[in-house]
């Protein structure tokens, strides 16, 4: 009882030391987290990281081996899926093939007690169809619908029940790129309109970054980092997160000196590189394995003759362009440097105009300022 009073009033979902084992496999390993009401929350990670199991623990398809799960301040341990105030959009939609679009959408309402009146149900189904821009499709069969339409029907079928939380299990994975982009925007708009908590499971970092308020990055059943997309991108806790969220260049080495917020590493070849200590990372001390992480868009590229001072950077390394991809607003260069191997540089248009432009095989300098380099735990 006291536990419920102590709960933050705006906490919708809470995991307390939740673990889930399947035989010898630990799918979720001692996870504690809090999802606020009205938030767009994402579980992000590669397959097998425990993100889907976490979602299924909320839906009630799985029960935790140990730990507690609360929805809206009430423990749901032992509560079967059909008694939970959450609804799910399944990966392959799981629409009932023997029912029409309208029958699918109205399914949740028909199971309600007391059962709403016929006219009331029809009205709500029509409204839901309108919400997902599918008015007039009510009497169609499921297999007549395209992938995007099935996706919308699945959304309407879940949202018509006005759940506390909407769970989305890789809902866009089956759609083609263009449609996925459209549906991402639609989902975001919908979430703001209905104002309920959305919990998304995805392995697509771009999708998670562009849609979520909060992202939980998982790895082997544990929470690696939880934060806003900006926090994860700018201040990753370790190499794994930095590597998973966006592209990053890493220089591995051993910590040689720690002074204030600046950490210096020494690479195997005896080179020294410095960077800021990421506030999210645990404190590093000399002798620890670590890495310097530099985002490609924070690097500069210049002609071979330019020094660090010419480019207004702290570091300048010479190398040769291995590959070049023109992306419109940017150009992406893969540069084979002489001392730290391949480096990815993302060069915006206005910088590109500074020089004549480079091509594969050209000798170039790449540079960066120490203040934009982050020193991270190398794991």
């Amino acid at each position: 009882m006291t536990a419920e009073i102590n709960n933050l009033p705006d906490a919708d979902i809470e995991f307390r030391d939740v673990s889930k084992r399947f035989g010898d496999v630990i799918a979720v390993d001692n996870v504690s987290l809090l999802i606020k009401r009205g938030e767009f929350f994402s579980f992000l990670g590669p397959s097998g990281c425990g993100k889907t199991t976490s979602l299924r623990l909320i839906a009630g398809f799985e029960q935790p081996t140990t730990g507690g799960v609360q929805i809206g301040g009430t423990s749901v341990i032992g509560v079967p899926p059909h008694k939970r105030p959450v609804n799910m959009v399944f990966q392959h939609y799981a629409l009932f093939p023997h029912m029409t679009v309208a029958e699918n959408i109205g399914f949740g309402l028909r199971q309600r007690k007391p059962k709403p009146s016929r006219s009331d149900m029809d009205k709500q189904v029509d409204e839901s169809l309108e919400m997902v821009r599918m008015s007039g499709y009510g009497n169609r069969r499921i297999w007549e619908m395209s992938g995007g339409q099935q996706q919308r029907v699945a959304l309407a079928r879940a949202l018509i029940n006005r759940p506390t939380v909407l769970l989305l299990d890789e809902p866009l994975a089956a759609l083609d790129r263009k449609l996925r982009r459209d549906m991402q925007i639609e989902l975001q708009t919908l979430q703001r309109e209905v104002g309920i908590t959305f919990i998304l499971v995805t392995h697509d970092q771009e999708e998670a970054l562009s849609m979520s308020d909060q992202i939980c990055i998982m790895r082997e059943g544990r929470v690696e980092q939880l934060g806003s997309p900006r926090e994860l991108y700018d201040l990753p806790v370790n190499r794994y997160v930095a590597d998973f969220v966006g592209k990053t260049n890493f220089i591995a080495g051993t910590v040689s000196q720690v002074s204030g917020g600046t950490i210096t590493l020494e690479t195997e070849k005896g080179m020294s590189f410095s960077g800021r200590h990421s506030p999210e990372t645990k404190m590093l001390s000399p002798g620890d394995n670590a890495c310097v992480a530099i985002r490609p868009e924070l690097m500069l590229i210049g002609s071979d003759s330019e020094s660090a001072a010419d480019m207004n950077t702290d570091i300048a390394l010479s190398g040769q362009i291995k590959n070049q991809i023109f992306l419109g607003e940017h150009t992406e260069y893969l540069v084979a440097t002489d001392i730290i191997g391949d480096v990815l540089v993302l060069s915006p248009k206005y910088i590109e105009s500074r020089h004549k432009g480079f091509g594969p095989g050209d000798r170039v300098s790449v540079g960066w300022k120490n203040e934009i380099a982050l020193v991270l735990e190398d794991s």
Binding site: N87, P97, A158
Partner: protein, 278 residues
């Protein structure tokens, strides 16, 4: 070319006798070996023969009851079996196939022995517990024993068909129903049952045909009752008449219609579900 000729010969060997039965059922003459012209008079004769109609009624009642029972029990068994994991699974799987492959004569004898033993054991007990004056029931071979024996061997067919359908079913449909507040019973009634129903119906039709056509098992356990195949068998001993041919042709026609219907049900069903999965 030789392969084709060979195949042709095999089919000829298989189907010519059946063709001849069908042809001679329309014979206007009274001898099975002498075709004298087309007529349907033997059909009329067969259908107005009270012994044959009795046997037909018996067969229909038995086939319908056995098919109904094995559809219900087979479906229940299939639903239960899909949950079995571990070392018991291959054992149960194997037992289903074995019960299909056991020769009819073995099932016939085994069921006969089992039933007679049970009856001999139960009848005195029933007689002793029955109230004084009232006639105690006497268990004996008859409709019920044939229905029981037929249910036993047709149930495996239903299990196989329904289980294949369950295996092909998208598990997330069941989870989706649960997620949308359906209780386990509602989930079964609204989702699982409609999904597997074509397989159950196909199983029913196949069971009906197998039971309706069965001679060996019925012969052992039917007691004094005659099913249609038993009647045909006993009338053949008095010589093959065009009337027997007419009965054979009718049985053949009904069986074929049921088998084809079952096939269509099974095929249509898989086509629909794969279209929905796309």
């Amino acid at each position: 070319m030789t392969m084709r000729l060979y195949t042709f010969a095999v089919y000829l060997f298989l189907y010519v006798p059946i063709g001849i039965i069908v042809l001679f059922s329309f014979n206007s003459g009274r001898h099975a070996s002498d075709f004298q012209g087309l007529s349907v008079k033997w059909y009329g004769k067969a259908l107005s023969n009270p012994f044959m109609m009795d046997a037909l009624t018996t067969s229909l009642i038995i086939a319908f009851s056995a098919a109904l029972l094995s559809s219900i029990m087979g479906t229940m068994a299939a639903l239960a079996l899909q949950r079995i994991r571990g070392p018991l699974k291959p054992l149960f799987d194997g037992m289903i196939y074995v019960s299909i492959m056991i020769p009819g004569i073995v099932i016939g004898i085994a069921t006969l022995v089992a039933l007679v033993t049970v009856f001999d054991f139960l009848n005195p007990i029933l007689a002793s517990v029955w109230p004084e004056g009232a006639n105690p029931p006497k268990l004996s071979l008859g409709y019920m024993s044939v229905i029981a024996a037929h249910t036993l061997f047709t149930m495996s067919l239903v299990i196989l068909l329904v289980r294949a359908r369950i295996a092909g079913m998208d598990r997330s449909l069941i989870e989706a129903a649960q997620d949308l507040y359906a209780t386990p019973w509602q989930t079964f009634r609204l989702i699982t049952l409609p999904q597997i129903f074509p397989a159950i119906l196909a199983g029913f039709l196949l069971s009906f045909t197998f039971s309706f056509d069965d001679f060996i098992i019925s012969f052992f356990v039917a007691g004094t009752n005659s099913t249609l195949p038993i009647y045909v068998f006993s009338s053949i001993r008095r010589g093959i008449t065009p009337e027997v041919n007419a009965i054979g042709t009718m049985v053949l026609a009904v069986s074929l219609i049921l088998l084809v219907t079952a096939q269509i049900l099974l095929r249509k069903n898989t086509g629909k579900s794969s279209a929905a999965a796309e």
